[in-house]
Amino acid sequence: MECRELTEYALGRLLGEAPSRERKELDAHVAGCASCRAELAALEETWETLGADLDLPVTPEFRARTVELLEDETARLRIRSFRPGARSPRVLAQAAAILVAAALGYVAAKGGIGSVTKAGNASASTGNAAPSLPDLSKNPRLTNVSYRTDSDGRVAIEFDATTHRSITGPPDDPRVSSLLAYLLSANETAGEKSRAIELVSQNFGPGAAVASPEIVRALATTVRRDRNPGVRKKAAEALASFRSTAEIRAALLAALANDPNPGVRLVAVDALAAAAKEAPDPKTIQSLREKAFDPSENGFVRARAASALKAIDL
């Protein structure tokens, strides 16, 4: 062994990776080399010193939050994997023929073919052809909810409420908006809420549909009250992508002031700063200033608030 190999040999020994031959060579070398002996002592002290850094413990709150999230995720995948597969073409053709015949009979009984559903309107279907949304004012429990955005931009929401239902329509259709707002508020688990928020983010905002006031209200409530930081962050991001309104600004200001999660506060800083660039608002500027100079605030949030203030034309 040579002096320049000391660190490599010593690390091998510290990590339990050095063969016994190397360990013996190291011992023999340092016994006869004072500078390597000092170097080895310094290296071992460095290694020992690193042990002063304590491990971050898993808190009961974090465990409970995560276990709930994992249950949601597993249930979601289970539902997806057990969804019934496509039936055989022959059975489908027979079913389609029966439906067409029934529809023609119905139209004929109503006075002939000629009333065509306006393109773009929401359509609803159920297993037993009930055509409407459930009465959302009665807080029905909607389960097995799934979302899809079709290539033509229409949103499809399927769910079970006594029977299986599917609501399809453009995102700004009042019934789609109402249902989405309801699901944003009524969903119980973090996974379900996240999926509803994701659908909103995909379909509303710049270059897409304008979110209805009830969707904005549901998101604002989620930002303020949801106990899962990931859900609050997603809701804040969705609000941040909308054109700023007094309600959105109020929700984001509340998040910046009170949310315990720095990730949520960062989203709030960005969104508020972007809105203030276009139309400076005294409350926003005051809140950003307080954050930028708050010594107890997270470093990232402080830095972002400070850069945001610089970018706003005061």
Partner: protein, 195 residues
């Protein structure tokens, strides 16, 4: 040559992953119980922020659920988990770097020589100084060093986790330790004298 038993129970881990593939949430929970402490402390040392570390740890387990079918069994489950965590930490740091520059005054300064006669204060300062020294390492050096020093991963497993050669792992740890040694010996860690 000494042989390290790492991970402790890979066949048990694989059974849990199999349960997870079958949609059994209990598999995910048991994996969480086994690996959350290690992944959380890894993420904490990589990100130096409790909230971010917890979020990344959650992200790892959510990814494990959705990607359980992609696990091919070649690496230990534990290595696979650490690889997901390392990638998630890198993504998070990249995002945060794009978003903001951390002001220097947001990180605690190393204490001046002679400060910290009271032992609790001294040990807190010592911890802060070690953490700051770790933060001073490059991301690559820190990943390799943390996996070796705090998780006891052998070189070969670190190489699998980080997707690099064993030689590159040795080099990164070597440089990390040299950097730390220089910092400590320059007197920045004057808590040695205080203790």
């Amino acid at each position: 040559m000494s042989v390290k038993a790492w991970p402790a129970d890979d066949s048990g881990d694989k059974s849990l992953l199999e349960r997870l593939r079958r949609g059994d949430a209990g598999g995910a929970e048991e994996l969480f119980e086994r690996y959350a402490p290690a992944l959380l402390k890894f993420a904490d040392r990589m990100l130096s922020d409790r909230e971010s570390a917890e979020e990344v740890t959650q992200e790892v387990f959510v990814k494990v659920i959705s990607r359980a079918h992609q696990y091919d069994g070649r690496a230990a489950v534990a290595s696979w988990l650490f690889a997901i965590a390392a990638n998630a930490c890198r993504d998070r740091r990249r995002r945060d770097r794009r978003a903001a520059v951390v002001p220097l005054d947001s990180v605690g300064e190393l204490p001046a020589a002679g400060v910290g006669a009271e032992s609790r204060l001294a040990s807190r300062e010592r911890r802060a100084a070690v953490r700051k020294a770790l933060e001073g390492l490059s991301e690559e050096q820190r990943e390799a060093l943390v996996l070796a020093r705090y998780h006891g991963l052998p070189y070969a497993e670190i190489a699998r986790v980080l997707g690099i050669s064993v030689g590159a792992v040795k080099t990164r740890i070597f440089r990390a330790v040299e950097n730390l040694k220089a910092r400590f010996s320059e007197g920045e860690a004057s808590w040695n004298a205080a203790n």
